[in-house]
């Protein structure tokens, strides 16, 4: 059932001539890239080079101390003045961020759009859990799950919201080696199946999809006085 709800979207994420201005520094003087449908574009760089700021900018939650020039577009539509909630860009954080006051199934249902009726919503959540072999955890509190289980629930929650693009902020870094490999394969396969363009922030070369060159970001340069 989960498979049925997943559809190829064919949406392209484009960033052109992006420059983010901080209080006294500039990030990425002229950053441009395109992420085709179902592709994963890795971003790498040292701490403080602005990887998470770039994700915040694409998502539409750039802190007020920053502003940017350049364009971000999804399938040709510019996102500049589109609020976060209308961009429909899914995000997966390093630490899952499952909502502690909801059960596993409720966390999944939270992501499903309202137009889908309740029985179908429940069906989709159960199917998503089955797809990651977690159907026995439907009514469990998320605080009782292991790290790997939390990561899988978090991924399925994002996918069920049918995002137009996805941002992955070091989602594998907290998992142990074995779990990391299997979860990475799961994430990439789902992204390919859904055809959503995805940006992956990582520090680890092992996380890179095969044959894909990462974009290397440099630390920011201080603005010169005067």
């Amino acid at each position: 059932m989960a498979g049925a709800s997943i559809e190829m979207r064919g949406i392209m994420l484009e960033v052109e001539h992006l420059c983010i201005h901080g209080p006294d520094f500039e990030l990425f003087e002229d950053l441009s890239f395109r992420v085709p449908p179902g592709a994963v574009l890795p971003l790498m760089g040292p701490s403080g080079c602005g990887k998470s700021t770039l994700l915040a900018c694409i998502s539409g939650v750039l802190p007020t101390a920053f502003n940017y020039t350049g364009t971000i577009s999804l399938n040709g539509s510019k996102l500049d003045s589109v609020p976060v909630e209308e961009r429909r860009i899914g995000i997966l954080f390093q630490d899952d961020l499952l909502f502690p006051h909801m059960t596993v199934a409720e966390n999944l249902m939270f992501g499903i759009p309202a137009r889908i009726r309740r029985p179908q919503r429940i069906g989709q959540a159960l199917a998503a859990l089955k797809a990651v072999s977690m159907e026995a955890f439907t009514h469990r509190r998320v605080t009782t799950l292991s790290g790997g289980q939390k990561a899988r629930v978090s991924l399925m929650r994002t996918l069920l919201s049918k995002p137009k693009a996805m941002l992955l902020d070091e989602p594998f870094s907290r998992l142990d080696r074995e779990l990391r490999t299997s979860f990475r394969e799961l994430v990439f396969s789902k992204i390919r199946a859904m055809g959503v363009p995805t940006i992956l922030v990582t520090h680890d070369h092992e996380d890179l999809p095969p044959g894909v060159e990462p974009i290397l970001l440099r630390p920011p340069e201080k603005k010169h006085a005067g």
Binding site: S59, E85, R88, G90, M102, M109, A114
Partner: protein, 556 residues
């Protein structure tokens, strides 16, 4: 040494509270040897239930207490949902300390100046908009519905709930949860309703209960703003208790017990509503509705908070103006004659109460802070937290009932009103507030600082005073200031445990305000306010001065 902390706190605060509250039970059943009553009977309850207007008093208590709590809670949660990290939020953060510094009695007196038929609000629009040259014949203060009391209490409690909420929010990853929720397509206020408020409420549950208990059993504000024919139950009990005829004390005991049970029932009601919501509200949480922009509720919330800020500023300004007014006929916006004569005349009288207030507040706030630090360090070193419910117990039990019980216990044991008893009465209420204000920062302190310093070969005491306390100086001083302010505003502990022998600016302010002398009431309310502001000034200024000195030291 630290091992003594739980015993010390229990002996100082726990045992007397429970003993005091329990000592209400016997007089409520007509057993009160001090009045020659040595046989149990239900007579006090019969007299209480037959007292004229008692049911109205009871329902007024419920109406004003529950109303004020719900109003302040909805305004606080609404403000957080709609204004988080906005310009409003930054303004509120800056004004929080001064708003908290306004004592309840000072606020009530200033509020009465504003909303009275001859008050500032009507003066500002008269006669231009109303055509009135004389105050209308309205009863906006001490109104029979208790609206003025309810509104004033709700406005006064918003800053406290906001402070508690801000402390609780620092433990939740708000920024990223809002981002995540919005990335699913939810509008920001829906993200708050569905994700963050359900996580926040359990952390502010006890402060909400404390507001409820205070609102149900308030006496000082109710004497100034509340209805008096009949009055709320707490005020009735207070009058019975003060009656020189000892027999009234048994009815007062029954009334105080009723207040206690009412408060516990209302807390139970809130617990029930929360549990029901947690069960039935789950459908709402996951129904997938993303929601609109919420412009209307957002605007209402902003107006409400704006009014709270404006009212608080006008309350303070009104106190200053009234204290300097020589002649201020209606409908003049400001006094037609200004003078310092009120201050000069009263200076001969307010010295003693002011000194008593400052001595009590200084001793009690420092004592409470030391006790809080002592108990927190014990908990931190054992990595075990005491249940917050036990800490907040004095705030959850009606003040009047508990103090009344303690007083009855003192009468039974032959203990006379003594200054240490008054100090203890203040400590009882200052301790939980200091604890609540400091707990978040203290327990979030990174223990590695201590471990690193200890590894350098220093003693635990040295490291505590040279590393931990200096790093926590801001929250420690702020919670001390809150404690100082709480002590300044105490009315019942001073009056009941001191039997009126230790007048403070607060007891004088209430006595004068109920007598209707606006100028004198304004002076005592301002003295209260200035005492609190003085403490907040130290708490906010000292760390800045230390930082400035450190900076100077670096640059020199």
């Amino acid at each position: 040494m630290l091992r003594l902390a739980p015993y010390l706190v229990t002996a100082l605060l726990g045992v007397p509270i429970l003993a005091g509250t329990a000592s209400l039970i016997l007089p409520a059943w007509n057993y009160f040897p001090a009045a020659g009553l040595k046989e149990f009977s239900a007579l006090p309850w019969q007299l209480l239930s037959g007292y004229p207007g008692i049911m109205t008093s009871f329902f007024l208590t419920l109406w004003t207490g529950l109303g004020a709590t719900l109003l302040s809670l909805t305004a606080t949660l609404g403000f957080i949902s709609f204004c988080w990290q906005s310009g409003w939020w930054r303004v509120a953060r800056k004004l929080l300390a001064p708003l908290l510094a306004v004592p309840h009695v000072a606020f009530a007196i200033g509020f009465a100046f504003l909303v009275a038929p001859s008050g500032w609000l009507l003066r500002l629009i008269s006669p231009a908009l109303t055509g009135w040259h004389h105050p209308p014949n309205w009863q906006t203060v001490q109104d029979p519905m208790g609206l003025a009391l309810m509104l004033a209490m709700s406005l006064k409690e918003i800053p406290f709930l906001l402070l508690m909420s801000m402390a609780a929010l620092s433990q939740i990853d708000v920024e990223r949860q809002v981002w995540l929720g919005r990335s699913f397509g939810y509008s920001p206020h829906r993200v708050w309703y569905k994700l963050l408020l359900p996580q926040l409420y359990p952390s502010i549950r006890l402060p909400v209960f404390a507001v409820l208990a205070y609102s149900l059993c308030v006496v000082d504000m109710a004497l100034i703003l509340g209805p008096n024919r009949p009055a709320t139950l707490a005020v009735q009990v207070y009058h019975w208790f003060n009656d020189p005829d000892f027999h009234w004390k048994t009815i007062a005991a029954a009334g105080a017990l009723t207040l206690l049970l009412t408060t516990l029932a209302c807390i139970g009601l809130l617990v029930f509503i929360e549990a029901t919501w947690r069960k039935l509200g789950r459908f709402f949480l996951v129904n997938g509705r993303r929601g609109g922009k919420g412009r209307v509720p957002g605007a209402i919330t902003r107006i409400h908070i704006g009014l709270t800020l404006v009212t608080s500023c006008m309350v303070a300004a009104g106190l200053i103006v009234w204290s300097l007014a020589r002649r201020w006929p209606f409908p003049a916006n400001v006094p037609t004659r200004w003078s310092l004569s009120n201050w000069i005349r009263e200076a001969a009288f307010f010295g003693d109460p002011l000194r008593t207030s400052l001595v009590i507040a200084t001793v009690v706030s420092i004592g409470a802070l030391a006790l809080v630090l002592f108990s927190m360090e014990y908990q931190a070193s054992n990595d075990r937290r005491w249940p917050l419910l036990a800490i907040c117990l004095p705030l959850l039990l009606p003040q009047l009932s508990m103090l009344f019980g303690v007083r009855l216990l003192a009468i039974r044991t032959g203990l006379q009103a003594q200054f240490p008893l008054v100090l203890w009465g203040h400590l009882l209420y200052v301790f939980p507030y200091v604890y609540l204000c400091l707990a978040g920062s203290y327990f979030a302190f990174d223990p590695r600082y201590m471990h690193t310093a200890l590894a350098l070969g220093r003693s635990r005491v040295y490291v505590y005073f040279r590393v931990k306390l200096p790093l926590l100086i801001k929250p420690v001083l702020f919670s001390w200031a809150v404690g100082f302010g709480v002590s300044i505003l105490q009315f019942l502990p001073t009056l009941i445990l001191g039997q009126g022998r230790y007048p403070t600016v607060t007891t004088e302010a209430v006595a004068i305000a109920t007598g209707g002398n606006r100028r004198m009431a304004a002076i005592y309310a301002l003295l209260q306010l200035l005492s609190s502001v003085f403490a907040y000034g130290i708490a906010l200024g000292w760390p800045r001065w230390l930082a400035h000195r450190l900076k100077c030291g670096e640059s020199c």
